[in-house]
């Protein structure tokens, strides 16, 4: 037996599931592009409007209406392709034919064997590289709401309402290779993809609003054998749900296989409340989509100049931002502080604080801890935060005092850190005074000191707490700890 030719990536020992099973996951992610208008007509592409207001003859598939390709959609799709290291190629559109009430023309204009973006990859923050098979353009369908009946699906409902506002909204479908080996990596892939899509302005990528929709192809096998039969999991509406759905589905498949059963190729529906997947339809029921080249559109062949212009105008991607922030602060690219600050888009702000003479490490940590809701451009001027970081670095303020000043800055949208510290009566204590306080604290709590001496680091908390209380927060915690360590010898 040989490894499956679809993917040569093999799980590490820690990544293997119990019983020697290896998980194989590929993800299909649909993202709605943040264009002004629809993919093939001039109606607005806007979420949340009154139903059936953003419509026109093309959207409704009226007789005689014809599609005209939206240039902005192509440009955003190319941004996605470039960000995912794809090759951009001359491409064509196909019709995917099937009947459904919210599909106005009874065919979807999509791309089939010659998509716009092919052969890319995405490197996750953890370092894992996931292949991207393709990222193609297609139009969204309308949205059906089925009234009555038990399931909320069309079958068994009393009647259905259709909103065609979403019909014709541009989508890019990003298809990964089956390179994902753990549910954690699947979540990481989607999180990183979302960060990229936001950074490049291609999509607001909100899973809750459906502007980013993730389907997971899940199978299990024993390494060295061909991949197992896969099931496609739909209705995964958050990153957390994605991890749960994959873990559930892997467990289900292993149970079936371990008890001598076989896996049917099918589409399964994730029920987040029940925490399980249900059969939606088996592969034998699958439609024959009768793909053929869309005769109403001409081939799309972006010029080399256009592709280069899109490439040149692409903002710095999250991975590069992490690398830059890591270089600036000395923190690892995979550290939480770096990942979180880049995710929030606050890396430029950290850089600005440093440029204003601030201390890089303190700037990173202040931003991570104090600016969770501040957005990419916090109200506090970078120079004000820079002043604070310098005061702490130069031991003019203790960490605790600095935190208090930071809270003031955040509350008032800036200010002179030194003046705030002075107004609060903060001043650096000299070390001999702190030493005396440490000795007093040891004398007051000999039990804690004994434990600390015996190697219980947690016991230091009681001593430090006493010093802080005695100094009214003016003592520098780091200095206190250093004194205690020197006393312990």
């Amino acid at each position: 037996m040989t490894q499956d030719p679809l993917s040569s990536i093999i799980a590490t020992d820690e990544q293997m599931l119990e019983g020697g099973w290896e998980l194989i996951v590929g993800l299909e992610v649909h993202v709605e592009l943040a264009t002004k208008t629809k993919l093939f007509s001039g109606s607005p592409n806007r979420f949340g409007d009154e139903p059936n207001t953003n419509i026109d003859p093309v959207t409704l598939g009226l007789p005689g209406a014809l599609p005209v390709l939206n240039k902005q959609a192509v440009e955003l799709a190319m941004r996605i392709g470039i960000a995912l290291n794809c090759r951009i190629q001359p491409c064509i559109f196909h019709r995917k034919n099937y009947f459904y009430p919210d599909m106005p023309k009874a065919y979807q204009i999509s791309q089939y064997d010659i998509p716009l973006n092919i052969d890319g990859f995405l490197v996750l923050p953890s370092g894992t590289r996931v292949g991207v098979e393709r990222a193609h353009l297609e139009e969204d369908t309308g949205k059906s709401t089925h009234i009555g009946g038990a399931t909320g699906r069309i079958h068994g409902s009393d009647y259905s309402l259709i909103d065609f506002n979403r019909a014709g909204v541009p989508l890019v479908e990003i298809v990964s290779r089956p390179d994902i080996r753990t549910s954690e990596h699947a979540k990481e892939y989607v999180a990183e993809l979302r960060a990229i899509l936001e950074v490049i302005g291609a999509s607001d990528a909100k899973m809750e609003e459906g502007s980013m929709r993730v389907d997971a192809n899940v199978s299990v096998h024993k390494p060295g054998t061909l991949f197992g039969t896969r099931c496609e999991i739909k209705n995964v509406n958050s990153i957390r749900a994605l991890g749960r759905a994959i873990d559930y589905e892997a467990r289900r498949q292993i149970d079936v296989l371990d008890s001598g059963g076989t896996i049917r190729q099918e589409t399964r529906h994730w029920d987040d409340a029940e925490g399980r997947t249900h059969t939606l339809r088996v592969k034998e029921d699958a439609d024959d989509y009768r793909y053929f080249p869309e005769p109403d559109l001409v081939p799309l062949a972006p010029s080399a100049e256009w592709v280069q212009a899109v490439r040149d105008n692409l903002p710095m991607l999250p991975a590069a931002r992490r690398t830059a922030l890591s270089a600036l602060t000395g923190y690892d690219t995979q550290s939480e502080a770096v990942i979180v600050v880049v995710e929030r888009g606050q890396h430029d702000y950290v850089q600005a604080v440093v440029d204003a003479g601030g201390d890089a490490v303190r700037a990173l940590i202040y931003v991570q801890q104090g600016f969770a809701d501040a957005g990419p451009v916090p109200a506090v001027p970078a120079a004000d935060l820079a002043t604070l970081t310098v005061l702490e670095r130069d031991a003019k303020l203790s960490a605790t005092q600095a935190k208090t000043v930071l809270a003031e800055l955040v509350e008032h949208g800036g200010g002179d850190a030194a003046a705030i510290a002075a107004a609060k009566g903060f001043e650096a204590m000299d070390t001999s005074a702190v030493e005396a306080m440490v000795d007093e604290a040891i004398a007051a709590d000999p039990g804690a000191w004994a434990k600390y001496m015996a190697g219980d680091e947690k016991a230091s908390g009681a001593i430090v707490g006493r010093v802080m209380k005695a100094s009214q927060g003016k003592a520098d915690g780091k200095i206190v700890t250093a004194i205690m360590q020197s006393r312990r010898g």
Binding site: P57, L60, G61, L62, P63, G64, A65, L66, P67, V68, L69, R95, N97, F99, P101, P104, K105, A106, Y107, I154, H155, S160, I162, D288, R290, Y291, F292, P295, D296, L297, V298
Partner: protein, 479 residues
Amino acid sequence: MATIPTTASGIAAAIASKQITAREVIDSYLAQITARESDIHAFNLVTADAARAHADAIDADIAAGRPIGPLAGVPIAIKDNLCTHGVETTCSSKILEGWKPPYDATVVSRLRDAGAIMVGKTNLDEFAMGSSTENSAFGPTRNPLDTSRVPGGSSGGSAAAVAAGFAPVSLGSDTGGSIRQPAALCGVVGVKPTYGLVSRYGLCAYASSLDQVGPFATTVADAALITEAIAGHDAMDSTSIPQPAPALVASVSQGVAGMRIGRVTDLPAGAEPEVIARLNEAFAALEAAGATIVDVTLPSLSYALTAYYLIAPAEASSNLARYDGVRYGLRVNAVDTNSMYGATRAAGFGDEVKRRIMLGTYALSAGYYDAYYGKALKVRRLIAEDFERAYAQVDVILTPTSPVVAFPFGDKVDDPMAMYLCDIYTIPTNLAGHPAMSVPFGTGAHGMPVGIQVLAPALGEAPMFRVGGALENAAGGVK
């Protein structure tokens, strides 16, 4: 009251120079419709009131000295598969009966902007599928020259309207010959322009890669005039050629001296002897007018009909899938959605439409695509290459338009293949995307008219109209 001219150009000139009023013109044509329409059934709808109001508005503009369009006051009949804002557009199908589009086809708005007055929506084979107009859900159109015979199709209503004097000009659509064949059978001029020269926006699609809108007229010059008015880039149609409308009327009278006219030596057989006789007379007339006749071969032509009847139904099966009863047109209620689709489409479509939907669905199905649709696309390329080789030697090619003259009702309705063969000479042009026109040239069996087809390379409308004009001049001298 002055005599009403019979040509669009004559009418436009007479109205612009205040010799007659637009109202006098429209009343005259509406009177002719009243007199004969019950015998002919060229129209699904006559828009008499709107036409009179439009004429009055034009007359008011003229009286007030306001500018008017180049076709101001010219009556025109519009095939009922072209969308007209607020005016019922049926495609002669029960599935669209009563549907009023919320927009105009680009060709319709261009004609209105030019001042042309719509007199009505003309009958057709349902969704433009047919060669006799017998496939209309609302009953056939009769040939004005002999009402026991078909007018051809699918644009039979538009051809009959011009032949019967209901309008000096009309619009049709041509997917495999649907303008040229009925033009030939009704003894009028019919033009299928280069694919992409005329916008398809608002033309209810039959086969998108083949469909093209074009005019019917009593003269070649009028056909050129209307082609000019409707041609030119339209941003609403991605397949529209990005260049302005060409000037064509001037070509009509330029003569054919020095032109090279192709004679196809391996033309598929089956034409009636009188039709072949008229074709030979046409060659002789052009030669006498100074052209050179050059023999060419088009070996792939014999496969054209087969390729067409895979490509056109394949596209049709997809284009007509939207008639599902969900948003507009007929809905036949049933227990669930899928049953509703089935019941609606079973009741709404006629036999020929169903036949082509099934044929096309099959041709595109997994496992059959390469053998049928894929192979048909290859034949399409071969035909284009044949034409390319031929046009290296000649400016235009002459063939019959139809192998037969107008036939009696019921003659071919039970034999689809016999009906399909009516388009054997017209279909290759559509597959290649080239322009072609049919010019009346004498008569054949039963005294019915024969049409000669002038084929030209892509955007070869100017040489095509030169030859069309020469044939028209010579036609007076033939049988």
